[in-house]
Structure formats: C-alpha cells, structure tokens
Amino acid sequence: MYAEVSIQEADFDLTTETDALRQLDAGAGAIAQFIGVMRDLNDGDTVLEMELEHYPGMTERCIQEIIDEAGQRWPIMAARVIHRVGRLSPKDKIVFVAVSAPHRHDAFQACEFIMDFLKTHAPFWKKERLSNGESRWVDARSSDDKAMQRWQNPA
C-alpha cells in the first residue's frame, strides 16, 4: 500500500493530489476524500484566525500508524494525508485525507476511520483568536471520542 503524509504550513492543491492518487494504479476505481475546512464560528463565538501547533515527528509517525491500521482493516491501495499547521483563516483548508481502493465502500470506510483517529490521536492543537480580542485553546470534543470508539466494535 502506498502512503504519504505531509505536515505543512502551505496550502495544497486538490487536483494535483487527486491526480497523483489516480495515476498510481488503474485498478483503483474509487477515491474517497475528506477536506476539513476552518469554520468562522466555534462554540457560538466568531473566530478570526486559528493557530495550529503540532509535535513534529510524532505527528507524522502517528498518522502513518493510523493509515497502516486502515490498510489492515480494508483492502485499500493508497492513502494521502496532508495537515496544515501555523496560521489559518476561516474557509482555509486544514486537513486532507484521500483513500483509493478497488471498491467505494472500502474507500469511504478507511477515509472516515483515518479522520476519526487523526482527530483523537494525532498531536495537533488549535488556538483560536476571537472577534472580541481573546485567544483560547480549543477543547477536545467528546463527539470526536465517540466517533473514534465506533471503530472499536465494527458492525
């Protein structure tokens, strides 16, 4: 299985990334993708900007392990993950997860699995700058823990 993980400040181009996956193997009929986008509202407050911190080295390693686990669970051909760090504004892309597979349900499942585990395991932290001048660290969400726990008891 092909896997590539990038942690970067720069934005990324969806056409370039998808074309790369598509060209890898003409047997991959299905590509499922997720794009996480910065929202302008969080917990009822207007967010002007976000600063994303991460643990260099561990982040890449952790995401690679999640991809490997996805590859054990579903017959997938390739996975590509890009996560941005540094300053981001509303509507900016934050994260990209793409999975190619022979069949679409496997691609969807693996893509969502990778996102759910990334959210709860990969060492990233978000700090928001609000319209009222305050800055605050974003709290972890129990909904993300629940999303992750779903995969412990596969249906």
């Binding site: 990334l118 060492p123 993300d144």
Partner: protein, 80 residues
C-alpha cells in the same frame, strides 16, 4: 540526559517548551521531579487530561523513562 517537551496549553502554563535533565525512573516520578525542581506552577503536569509520550509513542504513568529518551507532555489533541 533526557529531553522533555511541552505543548499547547501546557507549554503556555509552564512557560517553556523544552527542558533537558538527568533522569531515569517512571513517567509519574518524572512529573514529581519536574514539579519539585520548578515550583507549584508545574502542578499543571498533574492535570487529569495531560497525556505523555515517550519517544513519540503514548505511554502510561508507570512506564519507564531511560537515558536519551524524548518525553512529551501535552493536553488532549484538537487537530483535524
């Protein structure tokens, strides 16, 4: 020597991103030593949600830290 890294809210609470020291023992003992050496503000290490990784893998409080290890303490992650 070991390297100890702090991230996000915890990094801000401690006022430092990294310390190096001579230490062998468990993660729980390392926390105690850091608090003893650095003062009460470092009780933040005992926050109930604080996670620890040794050499970039998440570990439990009784895990051992050895010479040359990279240890990290951090709050729950919020990426994605």
């Amino acid at each position: 020597m070991i390297t100890v890294l702090f991230f996000a809210r915890l990094r801000e609470a401690l006022g430092t991103a990294e310390v190096t020291l001579n230490f062998t023992g468990t993660v729980a003992e390392l926390k105690e030593k850091l608090i003893a050496d650095n003062g009460d503000a470092w009780q933040a290490l005992n926050g109930e949600n604080i996670l620890c990784a040794v050499n970039q893998a998440v570990v439990r409080p009784h895990s051992l830290v050895e010479e040359g290890d990279e240890v990290a303490f951090y709050p729950p992650v919020t990426g994605g």
